[in-house]
């Protein structure tokens, strides 16, 4: 573990109960992700990519082992502490955008800021900046149904970065988009990583998408195989 590591997974085991059956996803998973890294996580279905993303995002807890984020373990935090931790440190991007249908793009982007003590004027300023970064400041008042899939995903990216999180977790961010739009989104993630120094962990099935990351981690049978892109 080095000082530059943002996340360190130590001896992570994760099992699920399904009826009488116990399903083991990982038995002894170890991983370090340095600050400023862009990792593409690949692997066959059922290999545990999404489970790992959930563990990294504090949405799920390991059966054993430790998750150290920025030098502090998170696996023992209470639900409320984890909520506050997520609000402060993690930005999420989903495959199906998951925007609030009744809210405008600006209101959607503002959501994570409602968990901060920022006043309305400061929130508005940050929302504007985030939308400018994704090139949608001219669509701030539009509702999700008035935007294309690519635009919705860009709003989701703006939502993920607006609170300036240390880590962005993206679960198949281009899985629902056509090739050209997917490229736009991947270039945007690359820009966030290279220009703004954001640490990104992206789960994808698409080898072409994985090429935009700094490195690929192939997860299979509970272990990683690393490839530099």
């Amino acid at each position: 573990m080095s000082d530059r590591d943002l996340i360190v997974l130590q001896h992570i085991a994760k099992t699920y109960r399904r009826g009488d059956e116990t399903i083991s996803i990982f038995t002894d998973l170890n991983l370090s992700i340095p600050s400023g890294d862009f990792v593409a996580m690949m692997g066959p279905s059922g290999s545990g990519k999404t489970t790992l993303l959930n563990l990294l995002g504090g949405l799920d807890r390991p059966t054993s082992g430790s998750i150290i984020f920025d030098g502090a373990p998170i696996e023992k935090l209470s639900e409320n502490q984890l909520s506050a931790w997520r609000a402060a440190n993690i930005g999420f991007i989903f495959q199906f955008y998951n925007l609030m249908p009744t809210m405008s793009a600006a209101r959607n982007v503002e959501l994570p800021l409602l968990l901060t003590p920022l006043n309305a004027a400061e929130r508005k300023r940050r929302v504007k900046t985030a939308l400018e970064v994704v090139g949608l400041d001219n669509r701030a008042g539009h509702k999700p149904k008035e935007l294309s899939g690519g635009q919705q995903q860009r709003v989701a990216i703006a939502r993920a970065i607006v609170a300036d999180p240390k880590l962005i977790l993206a679960d198949e961010p281009t899985g629902d988009l056509d090739r050209n739009t997917a490229v736009e989104i991947l270039e945007m993630l690359q820009l966030l990583n290279r220009e703004l120094g954001k640490t990104i962990v992206m789960v994808t099935h698409d080898p072409a998408a994985a090429k935009y990351a700094r490195r690929e981690l192939h997860l299979d049978k509970g272990t990683f195989e690393e490839r530099l892109t």
Partner: protein, 387 residues
């Protein structure tokens, strides 16, 4: 403020559903407002009430008379500060359908005790001095266009005169106003002496005797002393607080309180089921959105609070509209001269409004409790698997 925006966003998801729920709640509170105002008007029509006033009636029933002699005996009971008495007159003007809520009273003590009835001093004196006087409430005077000095033929469907007629000529000597908006001005008053000397039967008896106690905390003791004084006599008494007596008077017409409770209760239970069920459905539809909010860092408690906020806001909006309309409706009804005599005090009082706000809050919390609990229990991982 930020939560309010989320609450409004949740309600704005299905405007038609939100509108229908508000409408359902509006109907419930319209019913409640009108019925509660109706009950309040009945209480006002039965007479004003004061904390240190007691009413002595025949123990068998207040329609049975008491000997007039009881009045002077009650005056000497310890703790009694003032006494008056009255008798049901059963009056009407020209035709029985022009019913008048008429009482024969001892004028001096009665107008002294019931200072809720406000009139100029000279009119009060004129009313007390002349036995053929009638004191008329503003609502009645306005209904028939009566003025002070006018003679009217007052008839009674109870008391026949010694000459066999039922018409009691009286002169309007006073028109009283209510001390406040809740005091009904739908009654008229004649002299007891005028009635007692002229009636063909029932002489030297009164309907009820009013007592003012020296101290309201002594009410129970004074009531017990009065009733003990007439125990085992031919006309035993039952002494009640004025409020209890008025309630018993209203109950002659049926248990209005129970009827109102039944109707509004049924309305509220129905609304509870409708809103509760609709909100539970709305939360199920929004499972994915709730999972996203939790993922972003919203705590379960905050999400529960937002859901409760939605049902509370629904109840407050629907309830406020219902209550406002009930207030307008009752004001309109009490402004109709033919109804003013009976429903002059029919209005949505601050007490009714306050209790309605309490019901709105209770409705909001009750209907929101289960959906909020369900929203708080949403498991992010399970929810995302379903999306």
């Amino acid at each position: 403020m930020s939560d309010l925006r989320l609450i409004l966003s949740g309600l704005g998801r299905k405007p038609l559903r939100t509108g229908l729920l508000v409408f359902a709640i509006f109907i419930a509170f319209l019913i409640y407002g009108v019925l509660a105002a109706f009950q309040s008007s009945l209480e006002n029509a039965a007479g004003p009430s004061s904390s240190n006033r007691l009413v002595v009636a025949n123990r068998i029933n207040f329609t049975q008379p008491l000997p007039l002699a009881y009045v002077s005996r009650i005056q000497n009971v310890e703790g009694v500060a003032d006494v008056s008495y009255s008798n049901w007159f059963g009056g009407y003007y020209q035709e029985p359908r022009n019913f008048l809520l008429t009482f024969a009273i001892e004028p001096e003590s009665y107008t002294r005790i019931y200072d809720e009835y406000v009139m100029p001093d000279d009119q009060r004196q004129a009313f007390i001095t002349n036995r053929d006087s009638i004191m008329v409430g503003r609502a009645v005077a306005d209904q028939y266009g009566w003025e002070v000095g006018q003679q009217i033929p007052l008839s009674s469907n109870v008391w026949r005169r010694r000459d066999g007629t039922s018409v009691w000529p009286v002169v309007i000597r006073a028109i009283y106003e209510g001390k406040d908006a809740n005091t009904s001005t739908g009654s008229v008053f004649v002299h007891f002496e005028y009635l007692d000397e002229g009636r063909a039967f029932g002489n030297d008896t009164v309907g009820i005797i009013q007592i003012v106690t020296a101290d309201a905390s002594e009410n129970d003791a004074v009531a017990a002393r009065v009733d003990a004084q007439f125990a085992n006599s031919r006309a035993e008494t039952e002494t009640l607080s004025e409020q209890a007596f008025n309630a018993a008077f209203i109950d002659q017409q049926g248990n209005i309180g129970l009827i109102i409770l039944g109707v509004t209760g049924a309305a509220f239970v129905t609304i509870l089921l409708i809103v509760g069920n609709a909100m539970a459905g709305a939360i199920r539809e929004r499972t994915g959105e709730i999972a996203v909010m939790k993922t972003l860092g919203f705590t379960s408690v905050r999400i529960g609070r937002i859901v409760i906020g939605e049902t509370l806001l629904l109840a407050l909006i629907g309830g406020a509209i219902g209550l406002a309309l009930a207030s307008g409706l009752t004001n309109m009804l009490s402004g109709v001269p033919e109804l003013n005599q009976f429903f002059g005090g029919m209005r949505v009082t601050p007490q009714i409004a306050l209790s309605a706000v309490g019901f709105m809050a209770a409705l909001g919390f009750t209907t929101g409790a289960v959906p909020a609990f369900n929203a708080m229990r949403v498991n992010v991982i399970t929810a995302f698997r379903r999306i």
